[in-house]
Structures are given as C-alpha cells and as structure tokens.
Point group: C2
Chain length 213, copies 2
DNA sequence: ACCGCCATCCCCCAAAAGGCGTAATCTCAA
DNA sequence: TTGAGATTACGCCTTTTGGGGGATGGCGGT
C-alpha cells in the first residue's frame, strides 16, 4: 500500500485526483492540500511516500515547496503534475529534487502507474518531457553554440576553449605550436566577436552558454 | 511502418534482435551492422528512422558512432541498447545525441515500444536510467559549492562570483564599495584556496563545478 | 590574553594581458 | 581577379594582474 499526498490549488482537480487515487488498488491518498503553505505542515506530519505537486500554486510556487519539503523529508518522492511544459519550469523542478514530471493531460492510468514507478526507483515523465530532458544534455554539450552564434573561426574557438581551461597566452601558444603574438591576435578577434573586453568575460560567456556540460 | 537499423557486435544478440523486430507489426529491420565502421556506410545509405546502438563495440565506441551518424543524419533517432548503466556512459551517450537509453535486460516488448515511442517524440529510457538522468540535475545544482569545498569565506566567494561575471578588480571594488587593494588581497586568498594561479583558472573552476546551475 | 581567521587598506615590482597598427600568406567565393 | 577573412606574426604602449611584503581592527575560541 503506497501512501500519496496531493498539493493542488484547484478544488475540482484536487478532488478528482483524490477520488482517482482512492479508487486505485494499492494506493491511498492521505491528504489533499490546497496551498504550498498547508503542505508544509500537513505533509511532514502524515509522511506520505509520494506527493503529487502542482507547479502553479497561488502564493508559493511548487518548486520552492518541493525544495522545502525535501529538506525535511529527504526520502519523499515528489512528482510534478502540471499543465506547463516550459523547459525552464521543468529543469527548475528537477533541480529542486522532483523525481518525475507529468502533464495533467496524461491519462489517469499513467498517473497511477507513475506513482508506483517512482516508488520502485523510476523517474516517470510524460514522453515529451523526457525528450526535453534528454535534449538538454545535447544542447548543453554543443560547444559550438558560442562559436556559431558569434561566428568564431575554428582557430578562434580552439583558443577560446583553452582560455577557459585557465591557460595563459603563453601556454596556449605552446599548446598549439604557434607564436605568443598570434595568440594575442586571435584573442583580440575573439573579444571583438563576443563583444567582451577581457579574458575573464570571454570565459564567463563561453562557460555559461554551456560548453562543458 | 517504421524502419530500424541495428548496430551490435555480438552475433547472437544481433540476430535475435533482428528477428524480434521483423516479427513485430509495423516495424522493419533494414540492416544489422556488426561494427561502428560498417554502420557508418550502411546506415546513411539505407536511412532507417531508428537505430538501436550498442555501446561497447569492438573498435570505435557507440558514443562516437552516434555522434558521427547524427552529423550526417540529423533526424535519425538513436536508441542506446546496452548492459551498462554507468552514469558517465549514459551522459556521454545523451550528449552525443542519443534520444533514449535502454538496458538489454529490458523485456522485448519494452524495446519494441521504445522504438515507436522515440518516433512519436518521446525519449524512452529504462526506469533506473531515467532516475539517474533526473538525479543528475539535482546533483549538478547542489554540487555547486566550490565555496564550501575550499573553505572560502563569505566575502571571498562573493568576489569569486563577481569575478566569474567577468568584472575587473576595479569593478568588483566599486560594486562592493571596498578598495581596489582589498579586492586584490581577497583574490590572493581565493587563488591560494582554490590552488590556482590566475583569475581565468579560478573562473573556470568555479563555473565548471556548477555554480550557475 | 593569545592565536587564528576575516576584512580592510597600503606599497613595490614583475609578469601578463589588452589596444592599436602593420603585414605576410592562403583560401574561397564573388 | 579582386576582395574578404583566416592564420600567422611583430612592435609599442598602457592597463591589469599576481606575488611578495606589512598594517589595522574585529570576532571567536582556548
């Protein structure tokens, strides 16, 4: 028997979810909170194994509620259940510690399956969500994006990469087997193209736009 | 009718996968490559919609094979099918552009389902894999603290943060309302604690260890 | 009371980096 | 063929950094 908690501000949705869970064999809905605030007292007291969390709550967001609940209850499984599939929202929720992310349009059986799956070590996601999550690896690994966005040449981006390893101009020159002066020359162009004035800024821009992943 | 290609070095496994796919309604196995090298010529010629890729191939790894295939065929769906569930392997494969990751121990029907799912915009993963992927967000968000790892003081990490925004010492001094010399003094300590010799190295270490998340 | 750490400021000196100008190849495309 | 851009390279000059100092006060343990 898996115990489930709900955090959902829409009364209608909340009630139908509760009924759905109660009707499912092996699941029991131990609470249905209307606000993040309510959940912060009720969930720690009743300690369900799984929480279905809405993201767009009135007042505090589901993301911060997730964070705070997990501080108190590290073993809690939080499943996000929302209508939004904005990548930013998804990543924030996962960073906060959510173990799954479902869209409300999912079929009821999928939601029930997700509850059991998260308890057996899975990370249930709607398929479009999973795709976004997987793609985030790819885009964050595409070191080419600073390069292409700013039209850096091959040599220039090569130098930028070494720059962000923390090498000095002299080291870069040695590594590439070219002259120190040449490195400076390339770097000048890199700064121009990235519209930055220092190597630190360049490294910042490069690393933040997701090269190392 | 979905066309599928196989890349798998073990002949027995390769053959049973091929038979399984041929037997499935709606799927057709257009090729079964034994090596990465073979796949580089055969796959682009036959252009299947989906490729099931083994990771531990003799010779070239499945990761680089995936990368190279996707360069030629950006719309190809590559599904990794392997026995390994090492997080490093998984992340490398996803960075290379794989859209799903299945363990060989998966039930045959799961593999067939994954093929159709990846074509309809999903990212099929074995549940333990999905959990690892989701958890990677969490750890990369919490791991951030270069600060605690190296025992930086509050002021020092504050300065390090501004440093990695690309500010000069003078700017940092202005921003914090302290003297230029003080900034230099703090920075000296930061470098010492991070065991680096230049601001670029410090920024690199800071940003790569996941502070921005 | 003493020590360690932090935060603040200062100076000198050498090394590194950045701005600006110049210029030789080479390739690729208009 | 002419021109644009990439790659290579040098010089001169200024600014920025980094590495040594040293100094003052505060705060928290022992």
């Amino acid at each position: 028997m898996i115990t489930v908690g709900l955090v959902e501000d829409n009364a209608t949705v909340r009630q139908s979810l509760q009924e759905m869970i109660e009707a499912a064999p092996g699941l029991r809905c131990v609470c249905a909170c209307a606000t993040a605030k309510e959940s912060m007292t009720v969930i720690p007291r009743l300690r369900p194994e799984v929480v279905l969390m809405d993201l767009h709550l009135a007042g505090e967001s589901g993301v911060t509620a997730t964070e705070r609940l997990l501080e108190k209850l590290p073993d809690l499984h939080v499943l996000i259940l929302t209508v939004y599939k904005d990548p930013e929202e998804i990543f924030k929720a996962l960073k906060a510690g959510a173990k799954g992310y479902l869209l409300k349009r999912a079929r009821p059986q999928q939601i029930l399956d997700a509850i059991t799956e998260v308890c057996s070590g899975g990370a249930p996601m709607s398929s479009e969500i999973a795709r976004l999550v997987v793609q985030s690896f790819r885009t964050s690994a595409t070191a080419g994006n600073v390069r292409e966005e700013h039209g850096l040449s091959h040599r220039e981006s090569e130098i930028l990469a070494l720059l962000s390893e923390g090498l000095t101009n002299r080291d870069i020159a040695a590594r590439l087997g070219i002259s120190f002066e040449t490195v400076r020359s390339h770097l000048g162009h890199v700064y121009e193209k990235l519209r930055v004035k220092s190597r630190t800024e360049a490294v910042s821009k490069y690393l933040k736009s997701g090269s190392p992943a």
